[in-house]
């Protein structure tokens, strides 16, 4: 199943650009303040490691990784609502 409607940031509730998971991931990296970092870390990832990987390796892997997590989280929350 997939998320219906735009994804909003699980931390600050902002709808990033198109509302896609990848835009939300960019928003999280872009903001990068404590709450956002903590949320990412709470998902079992390391915000800083993701960032450094994004910086030091070609491609977009970190953003994708985070986007997937965000997508899953959104699905969970939608399911919970129902």
């Amino acid at each position: 199943m997939s998320v219906s409607g735009p994804i909003i940031c699980p931390v600050c509730g902002k709808k990033a650009k198109t509302g896609s998971a990848i835009d939300c991931a960019r928003h999280m990296f872009g903001t990068g303040d404590k709450p956002h970092r903590q949320w990412v870390d709470a998902q079992g990832l390391s915000f800083i490691d993701l960032m450094i990987e994004q910086a030091t390796t070609p491609g977009n892997r970190s953003y994708q990784l985070l986007a997937d997590i965000i997508e899953k989280d959104a699905e969970k929350r939608q399911a919970a609502k129902k």
Binding site: G30, I48, M51, A55, N60
Partner: protein
């Protein structure tokens, strides 16, 4: 000597783009111009700053009792005499305000101010510094961004994990799809050096705090209004209680629109002893404790089609931020943006920038603001791609370039773009030179630049630019602007726009600038913004005043209203019957009577709207540089150059030539001379013997072909000319070396030793 040609010129103007003298010229060629450096106030004391010898250390205590005991010493200030506010120009983002100009607990780079002394003579102040005991606890330090992000690197600012200060991400289109479709992909690592602004007038300030709680500051800077606002923040005062006067300014180049040690220390000292205090940086202090162009590490990967169509590009950039943020966040964004310039990326563009704290001199804005680094990498890689694909480098660039009406997705709209003609002009120039002598080659580089930034990092409630015009009874004009002349000639440019618009003569206009008490706020001289932004404000103010004048002229003329009136060259006249008219000053006097003696005042302001995220307009250029290299010693000599440049409608003829030639010399220095080596956080050449800059014999002809386009957003169609030319030259020199020997140098400045080594390597590889 030098050639300057204007391609398709407009000549409908009476003042604009005519050959007029700089309005400050007489003062400057007769030694009358006085700078902050020259200011002396009654009862003034002289200050000196005690600087950290350590790149990273805790301050456990400062004992200055011995210094105070020295006869002639009037005050000593440390961080404890300040409100401890952390300053930064990004006032809206607390995280980016991280610098205490007199540090309280910690020093983060060699040269950071620790204490300041005010005494009756400079000599006594200097002696007093030796009598201050600072108890340091030296901490481990880190100097290079790629070391500073390592897990075990020392923490420079609390809470900044891995010392990452700012990150910036720019992305449009689908880059990964682009690489999938690409016939050819090339990736390179580059290293870009720092550069000193090296203003001839070092940082200098005179502050006078008076018992009425008011602070008057003479300061050498690029934006009196910024200084006023920022000082209010760090002194805990109201903006309105601070007056900043910036008399003639001995150069800025991006290094003088932040607070510096001189302005803050003098203010704190003056508040302590209620006397004027003056501090002038020595040249060494200016090198080690002002700020510098941001050194960068660039990884860039580009995907193209066989036919040379640019599909996509991805860049990862680490910048050496030094100890504090300064203007670094903006440089980080702009380098990423201009790394895509001046090209269209069919599939997409992706940039990730990371600014890393290190225990070195903070880096900041400098003429070009991130673009020289971006072009050094981009324009060399593009030249190499053209060679790899056996394509003509000019035509490959041409087919991928921006064009009028192009929209950089989500970033900017290009309303005027003359780059296509730039390619033609450079092609002509190359052909005209015929066969070059042995050891010579021409390197090319294209780029674009912004005309002012749409950044309100300062969070000012004022419009970006404003101007007030007052017409005196004899027709002379008082023009009050907040725009700051730092040598680029903005006073002259504003006077020209005022005279052209109002219809008076240039000598009728008196420009009043650089005093926050008497002039409207303006963001000042940075990002090549004043000609466009302040120019628009002046134009609107003049139009406002002119409209009021013409109302009286109509009433006076008794003409049928089908005739419209205009003013040109002090002659108020009917447009269709120019011979029918009246002297301007006569109308001015009549208007005064009509207004019950009130003088006519025109007001104008400008803030860019609906112009994207970066800038209202963009300049474009292609540059060719003829270089001679001694194959045995690796010595580089610049022989000739031609830049085809699109700055819209030129306003100030002499000023424009000066800006383009001057930017070239600075850009060339960045390319092969201006080197800032650090050892353990210490700058190794903080003087003008060891820091090499272009001097007259090294400067080649800087020929210019001005492509005269029309920029709808600019006053009379004008856009940027002050910074763009600092961007292409380093890459052009690199490309000449590539053409000459096939070597690829990925670090600037290119030093002769690097050339010799590259040639050795090539020989080892290819045998020739």
């Amino acid at each position: 000597m030098n050639r300057y040609t204007v391609i398709n010129p407009h000549s409908k103007f009476t003042v604009i783009n005519t050959h007029v003298h700089n309005v400050d010229g007489i003062a400057k060629v007769t030694g009358r111009a006085t700078y902050t450096f020259d200011v002396v106030l009654p009862g003034m004391l002289y200050g000196k700053i005690l600087r950290s010898p350590h790149p990273h250390a805790k301050i456990k205590g400062i004992d200055y009792s011995k210094a105070m005991a020295l006869p002639g010493v009037k005050a000593v200030a440390t961080g404890n005499d300040t409100i401890g506010a952390k300053q930064g120009i990004w006032r809206r983002y607390k995280d980016l305000c991280d610098e205490q100009l007199l540090t309280i607990d910690k020093v983060r780079y060699i040269g950071e101010p620790v204490a300041a002394v005010a005494a009756v003579t400079e000599e006594i102040a200097e002696k007093a510094l030796e009598l201050i005991d600072v108890d340091y606890e030296v901490l481990p330090a880190t100097y290079e961004p790629l070391d500073a992000i390592k897990k075990d690197a020392p923490e420079i600012h609390e809470g900044f994990e891995r010392n990452i200060n700012v990150t910036r991400h720019i992305e449009w289109g689908d880059v990964d799809e682009g690489f999938a479709e690409a016939d050819y992909i090339r990736e390179d690592w580059f290293r870009c050096g720092g550069q000193a602004h090296m203003c001839m007038e070092t940082r200098a300030a005179v502050s006078s705090y008076t018992p009425d709680g008011k602070l008057t500051i003479y300061h050498s800077n690029q934006s009196p209004y910024y200084m006023q606002g920022l000082m209010a923040g760090v002194m805990g005062m109201r903006e309105g209680d601070i007056r900043v006067i910036s008399p003639y300014v001995g150069g800025g180049f991006g290094g003088k629109f932040e607070l510096d040690g001189a302005i803050f220390a003098t203010a704190v000292l003056s508040k302590k002893c209620m006397k004027p205090v003056k501090i002038v940086f020595t040249r060494e202090e200016d090198f080690i404790a002002s700020k510098r162009r941001t050194p960068m590490f660039y990884y860039t990967r580009t995907g193209v089609k066989k036919d040379g169509t640019f599909l996509c590009r991805e860049a990862k950039v680490f910048t050496n931020g030094g100890a504090y943020t300064g203007m670094g966040a903006t440089a980080l964004y702009l380098t990423g943006f201009f790394h895509s310039f001046p090209y269209v990326w069919q599939k997409g563009y992706r940039y990730d920038g990371y600014r890393v704290y290190t225990n070195t001199l903070p880096s900041t804005s400098m003429r070009g603001f991130g673009a020289p680094q971006a072009m050094w990498c981009s324009e060399q890689q593009i030249e190499w791609i053209a060679a790899d694909l056996k394509l003509d480098p000019i035509e490959m660039r041409r087919k991928n370039s921006h064009y009028e009406g192009y929209e950089v997705p989500g970033q900017a709209t290009i309303a005027s773009c003359g780059i296509n003609q730039c390619y033609d002009e450079i092609r002509k120039w190359i052909d005209s030179k015929g066969k070059l002598p042995k050891g010579h080659a021409i390197g090319l580089s294209a780029c674009g630049f912004m005309s002012g930034g749409i950044f309100n990092w300062f969070d000012t409630p004022y419009s970006f630019s404003s101007a007030v015009i007052t017409i005196n009874q004899d027709g002379t004009v008082e023009l009050n602007v907040g725009a700051q002349d730092i040598g680029q000639g903005s006073n002259t440019t504003m006077a020209i726009i005022c005279a052209e618009t109002l219809g008076c003569k240039l000598e009728d206009v008196k420009v009043h600038s650089s005093d926050t008490d008497y002039n409207p706020a303006d963001l000042g001289a940075w990002g090549s913004r004043q000609t466009l932004m302040s120019g628009n404000a002046v134009k609107r103010a003049a139009e406002d005043a002119k409209k009021q004048l013409l109302e009286f002229a109509y009433a006076h003329s008794g003409l049928n209203i089908i005739y419209d009136l205009d003013i040109k060259d002090r002659w108020v006249h009917s447009v269709s019957r120019p011979e029918r008219g009246w002297p301007y000053e006569e109308i001015v006097r009549k208007a005064l009577r009509g207004k019950g003696g009130q003088r006519i005042m025109g007001r104008g302001f400008y803030t860019p709207y609906r112009k994207g995220m970066i800038s209202p307009a963009y300049s474009y250029m292609l540059q060719g540089v003829e270089v001679e290299v001694d194959e045995e010693t690796g010595k580089i000599k610049l022989c000739d150059s031609m830049t085809a440049h699109d700055c819209g409608q030129p306003i100030n003829h002499l000023g424009l030539i000066g800006q383009l030639e001057g930017a070239f010399s600075m850009a060339a220095g960045y390319g092969y001379l201006e080197y800032m080596p650090y050892e353990d956080g210490k700058l190794m050449n903080p003087n003008l013997v060891d820091y090499k800059m272009i001097r007259a014999p090294e400067m080649p002809p800087a020929n210019i072909a001005e492509i005269d386009t029309y920029e709808p957003e600019g006053p009379y169609g004008a856009k940027e000319a002050g910074e763009g030319l600092t961007n292409p030259t380093a890459a052009a020199i690199g490309n000449a070396l590539f053409k000459l020997f096939g070597i690829q140098i990925k670090e600037c400045p290119i030093r002769p030793e690097m050339v010799v080594n590259a040639l050795k390597e090539k020989k080892a590889k290819t045998g020739k």
